[in-house]
Symmetry: C2
Subunit: 165 residues, 2 copies
């Protein structure tokens, strides 16, 4: 696994906005994201999971300085899409592991999640691509998460080698 994962990245300049329990039918996501586009909100991540009883939640990650615009945009259409409500949270950050072959290597996600759990770091959101796993966690846990993930994937040893004389 330490061969597969080649780096750890992070950011803290992000905020979370979510719209709760919208009808799971065509056109709903379009209305929500048209409102965000009208408000010129830059969208870093969109996460929509399985939901319940014909309804879905949609979570969006935006730059921290656009949290209020994003909340306003979501609230402007909350009745139109018959949502249960909107929520926002600024005290979050992202930590990710990056690597070329991860989707074909069972155990990489387990190692990442075990490492975070070993330091009592709760995973709020998870998003992935074939070459990256993103975890949203508390902003004050990001530095610790970066350190524990470097250790879990053997990346510390490389850094020491590069700095040796």
């Amino acid at each position: 696994e330490s061969v597969v994962v080649t780096g750890v990245t992070s950011e803290t300049d992000i905020a979370k906005v979510a719209i709760k329990s919208v009808p799971d039918k065509p056109g709903v996501a379009a209305i929500i994201f048209q409102a965000l586009a009208t408000a010129r909100v830059n969208i870093k991540f969109i996460i929509q999971s399985i939901g319940e009883s014909g309804h879905k939640d949609i979570t969006v990650l935006v730059p921290s300085d656009q949290l209020s615009e994003a909340l306003d945009a979501m609230e402007s259409i909350v009745d139109h899409v018959e949502a249960a409500g909107v929520l926002g949270e600024s005290d979050i950050g992202r930590v990710s592991i990056v690597g070329a072959g991860m989707a074909m290597t069972p155990g990489v996600a387990a190692t990442m999640f075990e490492a975070l759990a070993s330091h009592g770091i709760n995973i709020d959101l998870i998003n992935t691509s074939e070459i990256r796993i993103d975890c949203i966690i508390g902003r004050n846990r990001v530095a610790d998460a970066v350190a524990v993930l470097h250790g879990a994937f053997g990346l510390n040893r490389l850094e020491r080698k590069e700095s040796s004389p």
Copy 2:
């Protein structure tokens, strides 16, 4: 937007597995993904959104031929993590738009979602990176989705030019 989005990709050889309503506390994701690793399940995507009342759902996309292994692995730990249950679905596919500058361009997601809605295509799951938006939809809607997205982002015109004498 048509300058920002440079391609449409898709796949149909995927299946969805989800574990419902697990406690949102450190260590839970680790247990679930250790079970998947033990079963040698290849993980294409992981999606965990906001959840409700201290609980989360976790959705995993796997190769179609690993759906039963993934379901078995999830079921093996469903009591350990106090989940409400596990579900699987094979009749799904993925359609994605790809482009370099999407996270900094408001409106790209709206255009994608409006295009799918215009053909009555329901969006089941959404996952993103800075350069790609993935939508999970019904497997029998993938070809239609690819066509309507090419049209929405002006990609058809490029293809005709490349084939002209």
